[in-house]
Amino acid sequence: MNLVKKLVLGATALGMVATATAAVAFEPSKPVDFVIMAGKGGGADKMARLMQSIVEKEGLADKPLVPTNKSGGSGAEALTYMKGVNDPDHTIMVTLNSFFTTPLRQPGLKVDSMAFAPVGRMAEDTFLLWVHKDEGISTFQEFLAEAGKRGNKWVMGGTGKNSEDNIVTDHLNKAFGLDIKYIPYKGGGAVAKDLAGKQIQSSVNNPSEALGFYESGDVIPLVAFTNERLPLFPEVPTLNEIGIGEPFAYFMQRAVVGAPGMSDEAQAYYTELFTKVYASDDWQKYKKSKSLMGDFISGSDLEDYWATQIERHEKILKASGAIK
């Protein structure tokens, strides 16, 4: 990081602060409840705690963000908690795609994704298919052959039932006629550990979750569920490029939302705050090293993005029979 860049960034941040103090009347009057809708050690958890640390380190907010994990039921626990919270101006949440899928699957929760305040999307995470090196598989074709042979003794680990990982697994089963068994875990960290320990045969971890064991040589990526090859894994082909089956790409949103009923002033405050987090060196470095994609979007852009995502997930879930 050179001095010039630091100065420029500093100046932009100062400019933001100046406009912010002029326009934004809201300031938190107590520590902010920072809900994480996933378990400890997974991609969402690491990312949320990094955001909190950046806020602390750069002194971006007067009051601290206090992270709490609410991992129960693929985010259902976090969503109902957010809905019923009594101080929406001091409650924000880091979300995944379960932000769309869980309300669709469980109408009884009476949660409307669009009722949440759009604070900012920090990135889009990617999915890869991982296997242990001892399986002796190095291409996706070999994976199809081996997994097909073992039927339901081939086990895929993932985070939560009917979650992102489950959607990708369902797609593989359906598109390639496999019978992979899916076992839900509490967090992506536990999945990565069990893959490295050969307790399960494959995973569709995000890069941030599997990277440690990839670098140590325990697990290898076979295919990326993206549109283009990832800079971090240039030798790994995308599913589309292999050209078997329909084109399929799948991303995970990493967004910060405010509790339903948050005031516009508070929403503006948090959007400012996370714009600064997004611009920080640490975040940009993390984004690059974990192969995260996507730019910062907020406000009505984010709402539009949600609307298309909800539509897409409804289609996927209907196709797999998870909802009627």
Partner: protein, 553 residues
């Protein structure tokens, strides 16, 4: 010897690491961290996770101010250690376990305090913690890379078998009344299932939900029942589940206190608890009575601690159970046996050090506190994972060095503060009792930020008082709440893997992955647990056949 060769290999690096850790600024950080941790850990409701999380921002300042990359971590590790030592203090002096890891410490620590031996219990806890922490650090030094692969061998069936083993040691904890102990275990496990189910994602056991409210209103003759519900916010009360501290503080902070007040009619004043340097010395010398508990706790605690899903609570519990089982005088446990304080305390410190291992070598936090430490490491530019030891030795070795130093600092600071903690006990009981009630309530709120949990805690406490009069042991329920969530999750994941076949737990030949491999860890652990559960029943049967009555046992 291979082990020794390994030890001498790491010795220069360790020496270098300790040298960094005893630099004045790092030593000062360790002392401050331990003192902060000690007080945070001693208050019910606050634990190491609060201390570490709140002081995380402060470490960025440290990071800028000191040349060593390990300094911020040394500070946080010192808080972690201090809080582990501090947990024993509220267990012994107030009778309320401040954290799940300190539940087993109350079993004998509280009776010792009531007998006027609080100072001895505190000294025993401090020294046992020191020994446990140091032995664990030694293991950590020598075996860290090798042991990380042990954690990988523990998949879902293995962890469930381990939980079963932990429950097997419960049987010995409950006293003589077998059905009441069983009830208590089942009840605790069941409380852990309330709320959202991790695997299916659906809510369950939401008591008195809208459907039931409508039914009750209709039964009462209301014509317009559907429109008048909800009269009771069942989702608010139960959807977050029943948290550990809600039951633990309810049982110990409210139920046990009411029982003590009724038994003693406020006559318990522990004024005979005098304190002097010579009494502390006598306490230290008296450690020779508790060496066995310390040894068991140190070893068992470490090995349970390194398994990511297990952590320090089953470690401390199993150590207590094993120490009692192997004792020549198991009846003295629960009556103020120093071994019963030493075993869980050595174990929880040992396990906390052990829990650093999966965090650093696998990147998986075993506890909330290690999750915060992990976050800290990421922001300091470190990448915990299989390559940490090779890539960043200049961070790892000073940190390990600081584990040794923090332990020494923690035991000295703890011994120095004992007179202060004992002063609490010299208060008249009519002041101490309301203070304990107040701490219970404010502590529960501080832990979960929710009034529903505070209400539940008090209601559990009143219920626990009634059950206490009727001799229901409630410690097994408190511990079952901690372990229940993991146990169920691992059971269901395993049964999903095996298509509902229990053979996955007891047979090494169950084919898990279609490759015909054999799996020995889970069956061996399961069979040990089964034997432990069956043993008391067999012994009881033999005694019965010989014509002895229960009273003679």
């Amino acid at each position: 010897m291979d082990i020794f060769a390994q030890f001498f290999d790491v010795l220069p690096a360790l020496q270098q690491g300790i040298w960094v850790a005893v630099q004045p600024h790092n030593l000062a950080l360790a002392v401050i961290g331990v003192i902060v941790g000690l007080f945070v850990g001693a208050l019910p409701g606050l634990g190491s996770v609060n201390g570490v999380a709140i002081l995380l921002p402060f470490t960025f300042v440290i990071n800028e101010a000191t040349p060593d990359p390990a300094s911020p971590m040394i500070f946080l590790a010192a808080i972690y250690y201090g809080a582990m030592y501090g947990g024993a203090i509220s267990s012994i002096t107030l009778g309320i376990p401040g954290a799940s890891t300190a539940v087993a410490t109350t079993f004998d620590g509280r009776p010792m305090a009531l007998q006027g031996n609080a100072d001895r219990a505190l000294v025993t806890a401090a020294i046992a913690s020191f020994v446990g922490g140091t032995i664990a650090t030694l293991f950590f030094t020598v075996f860290a890379p090798a042991l990380s692969s042990v954690a990988l061998d523990f998949g879902n069936p293995e962890i469930f078998a381990l939980m079963l083993l932990a429950f097997a040691t419960f049987i010995g904890l409950g006293g003589d009344d077998i059905p009441k102990t069983m009830f208590s275990i089942f009840f605790g496990l069941l409380l852990a299932t309330v709320g959202f189910d991790t695997i299916s994602g659906e809510p369950r056991l939401i008591f008195f939900n809208e459907r039931e409210q409508t039914a009750v209103l209709e039964a009462l003759g209301s014509t317009d029942a559907a429109s008048s519900v909800p009269i009771f916010n069942s989702v608010g009360w139960f959807s977050r589940g029943i948290q550990f501290l809600v039951l633990a503080i309810g049982v110990y902070g409210i139920g046990e206190m009411l029982w003590t007040i009724n038994e003693s009619r406020y006559k318990v004043t522990m004024t005979e608890t005098k304190i002097s340097a010579s009494r502390i010395m006598r306490g230290i010398v008296g450690m020779k009575d508790a060496w066995k508990g310390t040894a068991i706790g140190s070893l068992l605690g470490f090995f349970v601690g390194i398994l990511p899903a297990a952590g320090a609570t089953p470690g401390s519990l199993m150590s207590y159970g094993v120490s009692k089982m192997t004792s020549r005088d198991p009846k003295s446990y629960g009556q103020g046996n120093p071994d019963g304080v030493a075993a869980p305390e050595a174990a929880n410190n040992s396990a906390s050090t052990g829990a650093m291992l999966p965090m650093m070598t696998l990147g998986i936090p075993g506890s909330p506190t290690t999750a915060v430490l992990l976050a800290g490491m990421v922001i300091w530019g470190l990448e915990p994972g299989p390559r940490l030891f090779e890539d960043r030795p200049e961070f790892v070795w000073p940190l390990i060095g600081s584990f040794y130093i923090s332990n020494i600092v923690a035991v000295l600071v703890n011994l120095a503060f004992i007179p202060l903690f004992l002063a609490v006990l010299r208060m008249p009981f009519t002041i101490l009792a309301p203070v304990i009630f107040v701490l219970s309530i404010i502590g529960t709120y501080a832990a979960y930020d929710n009034m529903y949990d505070v209400w539940l805690m008090v209601l559990f406490g009143l219920g626990a008082y009634m059950l206490r009069i009727l001799d229901y042991p409630l410690a097994p329920a408190v511990l079952a709440v901690v372990l229940g969530g993991t146990a169920e999750q691992k059971l269901r994941q395993s049964l999903l893997l095996s298509d509902g076949d229990f053979a996955i737990f007891y047979s090494p030949f169950f084919d898990r992955d279609g490759k015909g491999q054999e799996w020995w860890i889970a069956p061996i652990t399961t069979w040990i647990a089964v034997i432990l559960i069956a043993l008391p029943i067999v012994v009881w049967g033999i005694r019965k056949m010989r014509g002895q009555t229960a009273a003679d046992v």
